[in-house]
């Protein structure tokens, strides 16, 4: 393998890894607020991409993406209010089954709205064949968009959680819900907010990646499994580590094509998931002590 090809694989790995990280961050936000793993997280990504493609008929690209984010955000909030908010101390098994049911319903609704066809947004700049040459490596401008927007998003999220009142209230709820409520924080609203936030992030991810990977009504589930792998790899609840873990998984996956047929790509990443779950469920970057205290 020559040097240029090596870098080409790295670039492909980074692109996919970024998306996995975005999905993983969505998982983490809801997990932190509620202790729930939202199995419908991948569907938010699909919903964002699909809505943006439809809206593009009436709106310019940036507006369509923004509108898709807002619509998905509202869907996320609505789902929380309708299906989760009023449950009194639901068991983990119950929440797993409800979110799985939700993911099926969203997927089937998407199937009836958009059909089985594969859709994609246009490339944000240039076309599918345009590329930027960096050294000996060709990079599609969309890759830069994906990485750039995701980086900005992670930075903004960090600012939101560290410096704004709402962000700090959400963090307070995730650390100790009862104490947060005693301080006058409306914990239930924070949960709704976390669903909205994570839906919006998922939708944005779906929009920026759709020119490269395309979206389809059933493209959510595989993304959710990858996103979960990344969330676990980084340590559940830790969004910064999720970015690093996303890149690791993306690059590993992209090199796996070199050794195995592409059809088995998912087998690699899921085997990694199982391996981590068996050996080190606290994640590569998480501390074991902290993991023992959490309830899975």
């Amino acid at each position: 393998m020559n040097f240029d090809l090596f870098f080409q694989y790295i670039v492909a790995g980074i692109t996919y890894g970024t998306i996995y990280a975005v999905v993983a961050i969505g998982f983490n936000i809801i997990y932190n607020a509620t202790g729930i793993i939202n199995f419908a997280q991948g569907e938010f990504v699909m919903l964002g991409g699909m809505t943006a493609v439809t809206l593009l008929r009436y709106l310019p690209l940036p507006a369509a993406v923004l509108a898709a984010m807002i619509i998905t955000m509202l869907v996320g909030g609505l789902i929380e209010i309708l299906f989760i908010r009023w449950l009194y101390k639901p068991s983990v098994l119950r929440m797993i089954i409800i979110t799985i049911g939700l993911s099926i319903l969203i997927r089937e609704t998407a199937l009836h709205i958009w059909g089985e066809g594969v859709k994609a947004l246009p490339y944000f700049t240039g076309t599918s064949v345009s590329s930027i040459k960096l050294g000996g490596v060709f990079i599609s401008p969309q890759v830069l968009w994906v990485v750039g927007i995701s980086a900005v998003m992670v930075a903004l999220l960090n600012i939101f959680f560290s410096y704004t009142i709402t962000g700090r209230q959400m963090r307070a709820c995730s650390v100790n819900r009862d104490a947060a409520r005693l301080c006058g924080i409306n914990a239930k609203n924070m949960v709704t907010l976390s669903f909205m936030l994570s839906a919006a992030i998922g939708a944005l991810g779906g929009c920026i990646v759709s020119p490269i990977t395309y979206v389809q009504y059933d493209s959510g589930t595989p993304l959710a499994i990858k996103g979960f792998t990344v969330a676990i790899l980084g340590g559940l609840g830790n969004s910064v580590a999720a970015v690093a873990a996303g890149l690791v998984l993306g690059i590993l996956e992209s090199f796996s094509i070199w050794v195995m047929p592409a059809a088995y790509k998912d087998v690699i990443s899921i085997s990694i998931l199982l391996l981590i779950l068996f050996v080190r469920p606290s994640g590569l970057f998480g501390s074991k002590e902290a993991a023992d205290l959490k309830e899975f």
Binding site: F83, G101, I225, L274
Partner: protein, 358 residues
């Protein structure tokens, strides 16, 4: 307790016979095809009910075990060994009576493994895989367990759809009939429809009998204690890990046997049998039946699978199962057919307090 079980089992046998008789008299024997298929799916569900309802462990990968059984037996009974006829292993197998000669659709000679030998291999392979996977997976809880089993299911699905030897997206077809006894064989032949119906339901009844015996034994009580409070069960000296693993393997074997039989019945298997949606369906049905309610799971399994296979749910097939999951879990997490519902209804109708509730 014993007599109640016997009565219920007797009722099941009577219902199975009655349904067949009704279809015979009304000339609607075409229903038997879907009822036979529902029976095999119900077999998976009975196994999953033991695991989920009684041992309290979720599995989102049971379609994987179904597919392991189906694919192994389909592959072995359709893969032509005649090019290897002279190699040591093949001639040994042939001498041991494990291989059978037959002609395919185009008149070519095929040398394949006997269905019963393939069935045994499939079940043994399932046991081995279930032990290997189950050991570490069942140490996980909650979300991690759900995701790990989901991951296992996805791996099996990807392997089935990505391997050309397994027919990739088309799956395997032309699977020969499975001759159980000289006059009894599992096949999709029109003339064998009635006997296949009885084979399938006979298998389900055996499985139910076996499961009921487990539930009402020391093992069953141990399993329920694990479901209730695992730490407490451990403290009482119950080897929870071993019980969970054995139940997992048993339910995997149920799924695998169902896979083997249904594959011979349909004459083939495709990757959709291994898909996540199938696993979710099994979980949905166990949930609707009331988790720790074998009869509920069996009734709902037969009913929903029958409706789905007959195509009554149309394009909303998957959506119906998703909707069922949500509604049941939101409003009646203890299940639609939970005994309490029956008692409540009886109380409403008869307007007298239930003697048992004191």
């Amino acid at each position: 307790m014993r007599s109640r079980i016997h009565r219920a089992l007797f009722g099941l046998v009577a219902a199975v016979i009655a349904v067949q008789q009704v279809t015979a008299y009304t000339g609607s024997e075409y229903y038997l095809t879907q009822l036979t298929m529902s029976a095999y799916y119900s077999l998976v569900i009975v196994g999953l009910c033991l695991l989920m309802g009684y041992a309290g462990q979720i599995s989102l990968g049971h379609a994987g075990f179904f597919a392991i059984g189906g694919y192994i037996s389909a592959f072995l009974t359709t893969h032509d060994l005649s090019p290897l006829k002279d190699s040591g292993i093949v001639s040994f197998l042939s001498k041991a009576g494990l291989l059978s000669q037959r002609t395919d659709l185009y008149g070519g000679r095929l040398l394949t493994v006997q269905p019963w030998a393939a069935c045994i291999v499939a079940i043994l392979a399932t046991v081995v895989i279930a032990y290997i996977v189950g050991g570490p997976v069942l140490r996980l809880k909650g979300h991690y367990l759900a995701m790990a089993t989901l991951g296992f299911g996805t791996i099996i699905y990807r392997i089935a759809i990505g391997t050309t030897a397994l027919g990739a997206a088309d799956g395997l077809s032309d699977v020969p009939p499975f001759r159980l006894l000289p006059f009894l064989e599992v096949s999709g032949e029109m003339s064998d429809r009635v006997q296949n119906y009885y084979i399938a339901w006979g298998l389900v009844i055996l499985a139910v009998l076996f499961s009921l015996n487990i539930i009402h034994s020391r093992i069953g009580r141990a399993l329920r204690s694990i479901h209730g409070a695992e730490d407490a069960a451990n403290a009482m000296g119950i080897d929870t890990a071993r019980y969970k693993l054995n139940t997992f393997v048993l339910s995997a074997v149920f799924a695998s046997v169902a896979g083997v039989f249904l594959t011979h019945y349909n004459g083939g298997i495709g990757p959709s049998e291994a898909s996540i949606m199938k696993s979710v369906r099994y979980v949905a049905i166990v949930a609707v039946g009331g988790m720790a309610n074998l009869w509920g799971a069996l009734v709902m399994g037969t009913l929903l699978n029958f409706l789905s296979l007959r195509g009554y749910l149309g394009t909303y097939d998957d959506a119906v199962f998703g909707g069922i999951l949500i509604i049941i879990m939101l409003f009646v997490p203890q299940g639609l057919l939970h005994v309490d519902v029956f008692r409540g209804l009886r109380g409403l109708v008869l307007r007298r307090p239930n003697e048992k509730e004191t």
